[in-house]
């Protein structure tokens, strides 16, 4: 017998008998621990209730008191074929998130419908969600056939109705099985009462389901989870969501555009060298050169890249009482990447009863809708129908997961009426004409660390050498470009993004732009790095908080200490020092001229004449 278990979800309307079916499956396959049935019978007797198979499932006291199954419970049983785990998904409307939690893990589903009542709204909603969550193997169980005296006519009516509905979703049930869970008809053994039914029993159908598998023959998607440095190795870690990779492959990373060759697939306690890996494997790789790559970036092969999008249509389900509204901004998490997205439009709210849709401005709890999202940063993604794992995601609001979505349409830059015009003057020509490369020297550090002083001194020194250079100072840009922005965390992030975009334009024009911003958060600087690509050079202007406070050139620390400035970096808001800046300048120990000399050396080396000679080919990303 194979050990690998199949995950089954059982869904349906609240009173249609899911728990009874499960209790019966456990009992009839001999999967209950000894004494369990007796224990539940005894408990029912004490409580003065007639014994129900459903009670076997209801292990929690709270459930027995309320008489409904509350949460996703996982129960194991075996047939002669293989082991199973049943994920019991509750039918009560307000417990949608538990249903989603359960069903999203399943290989296959049983949809339970009462023979007497037929498919109700919840049955249809559940079928719809199964489809949305990606469960493609579904069988229908028409339960309580004893209540309709095993009428084949009644069965046909119910079966046809649900088949028609499923067909509209593009789902074809593997079987529609008439059963009485309470009495055990057509569960394990064939019932004499339904001699007109020739299809499989529930157990036969379960054994006919196949485990869900990810195909290694699809395009490679390796979303990065983390970067580890356990020793002198730099290991990029993540799980391959589709496709396969081999040592020696050239990987490209979205959205940065960086690329490098795979030198090794790292494995611990593995005597043989690993040469390839495929979908489903959690791996670590090392590359032939040090590129900027971090959590959220997706590695792929050049030929089959994910799409980069700012605008996308999704089909989503909404889980919380605060409705999704047009204009609100959420975090969209696709694989390991997180992006801030704003709801641009609710195209349609879908009525799961008849699949009709109406436009709206909001999506309420338990509703399914088509929505257009817009992101400031480019998102690397796929259509859910092509590659589900990089084509679907979760929406997060504050601390909570509030909904899930499938990407159904992606608008690329061309369709958005933005066509990037190719310049006839290349970056290389500009660099040759200027005698140096364009680049972004990003000075980050505490207020008072010496960024502005150093920036202005560098600008002077470069200008005196005939370089094209300009300082973008954090305070100065707030008077013009960013005049509309305040000091909320969103506005600060936007301030930094705009400076990065502007800096990129300067660098494109061939200039050395010196950006001087506190930019306290790693995430904001990482985004600036994505925008700037390989031309981005992070310089950490380091100084002790105490030193900075003593210098206090703008009198800001004094005000912050007096509580006059909220969220002042270093006092009441954190400064996250860079982990791996291109350069650190310690203004605690260096004099002003020493600091400048160090910075000049770096700029000269990376952007000056020598860098032009050594690098014949100037290829820039983004």
């Amino acid at each position: 017998m194979p050990h690998s278990q199949l995950r089954i979800v059982i869904v349906g309307h609240v009173d249609h008998g899911k728990s009874t079916l499960i209790g019966r499956l456990l009992n009839d396959t001999g999967s209950l621990p000894d004494g369990k049935v007796e224990q539940v019978r005894e408990m029912s007797r004490k409580r003065g209730m007639p014994f129900e198979w459903a009670f076997v499932m209801d292990a929690l006291q709270a459930e027995r008191d309320q008489g409904i199954t509350i949460d996703t419970t996982q129960i194991h049983f075996k047939t002669k074929q293989r082991p199973y785990v049943i994920i019991d998904a509750p039918g009560h409307t307000e417990f949608l998130k538990n249903m989603v939690t359960g069903a999203s893990q399943a290989d296959a589903a049983l949809l339970v419908i009462d023979a007497d009542e037929g498919a109700l709204e919840q049955s249809r909603r559940h079928a719809f969600l199964l489809h949305l969550l990606g469960v493609r193997q579904v069988a229908v169980v028409v339960n309580k056939m004893d209540k309709v005296e095993f009428s084949s006519r009644r069965y046909e009516v119910v079966a046809q109705e649900i088949k028609d509905y499923l067909a509209e979703l593009g789902l074809q049930p593997k079987a529609v099985i008439p059963v009485s869970a309470r009495n055990g008809d057509n569960i394990v053994s064939r019932s004499e009462q339904s001699d007109w039914y020739l299809g499989p029993t529930v157990i036969e159908q379960l054994d006919a389901f196949r485990p869900q598998q990810t195909s290694p023959d699809q395009p490679l998607r390796l979303p990065l989870q983390d970067v580890y440095k356990p020793d002198d190795r730099r290991i990029l870690a993540g799980r391959i969501e589709s496709g396969r990779l081999r040592v020696g492959d050239t990987l490209h990373f979205s959205p940065t555009g960086a690329s490098a060759k795979v030198v090794s697939i790292e494995a611990w306690n593995h005597p043989e060298t690993v040469l390839s890996a495929q979908a489903g494997q959690s791996i670590g790789i090392t590359l032939d050169k040090r590129i900027f790559a971090e959590r959220g970036h997706i590695a792929h092969h050049q030929a089959d890249a994910p799409t980069l999008a700012h605008r996308l249509s999704v089909r989503l389900f909404w889980l919380v009482s605060d409705p999704l509204v047009v204009g609100k901004t959420y975090t969209l998490k696709i694989a390991t990447a997180e992006h801030r997205v704003t709801v641009e439009q609710v195209t349609a709210v879908i009525d799961v009863e008849d699949l009709s849709s109406t436009p709206g401005k909001a999506v309420r709890r338990n509703e399914v809708a088509e929505v257009v999202l817009r992101s400031r940063s480019p998102i690397a993604l796929d259509l859910a129908s092509d590659l589900p794992r990089t084509g679907r995601g979760a929406l997060i609001d504050g601390n909570d997961v509030v909904g899930g979505c499938l990407v159904v349409e992606i608008e690329d830059a061309a369709a958005a009426n933005i066509t990037e015009v190719s310049h006839t003057v290349s970056l290389e020509e500009r660099a040759q004409a200027n005698g140096h490369k364009g680049g972004i020297v990003w000075l980050t550090g505490l207020s008072g660390a010496g960024k502005s002083t150093l920036a202005m001194a560098l600008e002077r020194a470069l200008f005196d050498r005939g370089w094209q250079t300009f300082v973008l100072d954090g305070d100065n840009v707030r008077n013009g470009l960013n005049a509309g922005l305040g000091f909320s965390s969103d506005d600060r992030a936007e301030n930094i993004r705009r400076v990065a975009e502007t800096a990129k334009l300067f660098a494109d024009a061939g200039m050395v732009v010196i950006a001087s911003l506190i930019s306290p958060l790693k995430s904001d600087r990482a985004r600036a790095r994505v925008i700037g690509g390989e031309r981005f050079h992070e310089v950490y202007v380091a100084a002790d908080l105490a030193t900075c406070e003593e210098r206090d050139p703008k009198g800001l620390y004094k005000k912050a200490r007096a509580g006059e400035i909220a969220e002042f970096t270093g006092i009441s808001a954190p400064y996250e020092a860079p982990d791996q800046p291109e350069l650190v300048i310690d203004t605690d120990t260096l004099s002003r001229s020493e600091a400048l000399a160090q910075l000049l050396d770096y700029v000269d080396e990376t952007l000056g004449k020598n860098s032009l000679k050594s690098e014949k080919e100037l290829t820039y990303v983004i």
């Binding site: 050990h3 278990q5 006291q61 983390d226 306690n269 959590r295 601390n399």
Partner: protein, 265 residues
């Protein structure tokens, strides 16, 4: 054939890496039983040999001598950053709990002290869904209040491997990388990987520990299985529940549930 073990292993490593990346201050609870030994092993795989967070034993002083011996040996051999948290005495427990349950509650209090004193934001725990009905309800990332309260009726949605990793002040998260594993999976994996096992799991004089707890509240069950092979064979036919030798579970109908709702692992 162990493609299913590969799948479980890959999923657990994914969870461990998510936890390490998303949660600031993390520790792993090590009960020294078979499950948390497997979890340690998975941590070493996930992080390429070096476990980047402390490993904590909640110690009641009541473990069997073989357990302490095993702990000290493995800590040294695997170079673990072990922290031993002494649990408060039984007299300080909720006296309305039945006596054996009270003894088990010491670990809950030890855990609370640990969280309070070290401000851990996440603790990894090697529980499995198939062990016990209330554990079946767990999420992979399961938020708890400072007191350890578990709100089973209002748990976060968890789908497509998107876990809840952001929390308000005062909330910590239990991370359960082994939730999808079964007892049989753990044994098959331990065998395949050669993971060291406390010898108490193997039968001696017709009895073995199937689930390992403190000596005052855990008892060996009837068994002749003295190798992993024999344990695997035994598990494929047994109908005795795994925690049959855990006295507190069987003391009263809701003992384990009461323990868990106030923060037991």
């Amino acid at each position: 054939m162990s493609a299913d073990l590969d799948q479980l292993e890959n999923q657990s490593i994914y969870i461990l890496r998510e936890a390490y990346n998303r949660i600031d201050k993390l520790a792993m609870l090590w009960s020294i039983g078979k499950d948390s030994n497997a979890l340690l092993w998975l941590c070493r795989k996930a992080f390429f040999g070096r476990i980047p967070f402390p490993v904590v034993q909640l110690d009641t002083g009541m473990e069997l001598p073989e357990v302490y011996e095993f702990r000290d040996r493995i800590t040294k051999e695997w170079n673990l950053d072990l922290k031993v948290e002494q649990c408060p005495p039984e007299e300080e427990m909720d006296q309305t709990l039945p006596p054996l349950t009270r003894a088990a509650a010491r670990k809950t209090e030890g855990l609370k002290n640990l969280l309070r004193d070290h401000a851990y934001q996440g603790v990894m725990v090697g529980i499995r869904r198939d062990e016990q009905a209330t554990r079946a309800k767990e999420r992979v990332f399961s938020p708890r209040s400072l007191e350890g309260d578990w709100d089973v009726k209002d748990q976060p949605a968890e789908f497509w491997d998107h876990y809840k990793t952001r929390f308000p002040e005062g909330v910590h998260v239990r991370i359960h990388p082994l939730l999808a594993w079964t007892e049989l999976d753990i044994w098959r994996y331990s065998q395949r990987e050669g993971i060291p096992i406390v010898p108490l799991y193997f039968a001696k004089d017709g009895k073995r520990y199937r689930s390992l707890g403190e000596k005052n509240i855990t008892f060996p069950v009837d068994s002749t299985a003295s190798t992993i092979d024999e344990i695997i064979a035994e598990l494929q036919v047994t109908r005795v529940p795994e925690r049959a030798g855990r006295a507190m579970d069987n003391e009263s109908e809701d003992s384990f549930e009461r323990l868990r709702s106030v923060g037991y692992m």
